[in-house]
């Protein structure tokens, strides 16, 4: 898994490439926690290059979403979610808990 972070005035764009499983989810969690400790709570997660997402990754997503939405201070939105991963999010009941965007620009523009 590779994580790329781009910080904009408005939000952070987190691009995750490869697998998000029990081996790699802690790294994603660390990245997001470090940003939240700096007071950043608006995240666009670009999953276009994510090939796999297990419940370990789902746990990071839900924890981060809870933390961001608290005090109305931010939000995690998901961009470019591949069909397999969307199916996993759907089965987990996560679809109503996140906003989804088909491309990164729209996500960054609407967060």
């Amino acid at each position: 898994m590779e994580i790329n972070t781009t910080t904009y005035k408005r939000c952070d764009l987190i691009t995750v490439t490869g697998r998000i499983d029990s081996a790699t989810a802690p790294q994603l969690s660390d990245t997001l926690n470090a940003l939240m400790e700096e007071g950043r709570f608006r995240f666009v997660l670009d999953l276009s290059g994510t090939t796999f997402l297990s419940s370990a990754g789902l746990r990071v997503l839900i924890n981060t979403q809870k933390n961001c939405k608290r005090y109305n201070r931010g939000e995690v939105v998901l961009a470019c979610v591949p069909p397999n991963i969307h199916a996993a999010l759907d089965l987990s009941g996560f679809v109503p808990l996140f906003r989804f965007f088909n491309d990164v620009i729209t996500a960054v523009g609407n967060i």
Partner: protein
Amino acid sequence: MEISNSSTPPTTVTQVFPGRCSSLEKIAEFVRTAAQQAGLDDFATYQVETAVDEACSNIIEHAYQNTEGEIICTCREEIDRLIITLQDQGQPFDGSNIPEPDLCCDLESRSNHGLGLYFMRKWMDEVRFEYDPALGNKLTMIKRKEK
């Protein structure tokens, strides 16, 4: 160790992995190859890969509790199905009685646990837990081929 017999079903391949998170990617590759060879489509392959990843993550985290141990993974293709078995020597476990998680829509009250078994049950056609004091845990998961 990889054992494989003839190339028309039934075909059986077995591989042993160290029970560590760093094995998950290799286990996924092993299972994905077996699923593709069994003729499963991309989504069914992804479902099998997910179920196996969840099962192995649980073995590593809960059965072995992050101590040393092995996971023996066997993929058996039959004419109409793919049968995956995972064997470990960790703490005995029977997941059959664990209830489904509550997938309520309210973010704050959503638990961040319990999705692993749920994925296994929803995305495989059959999930069976067995324990034998000599052989340890044996989890069998079956995915039927599309008719």
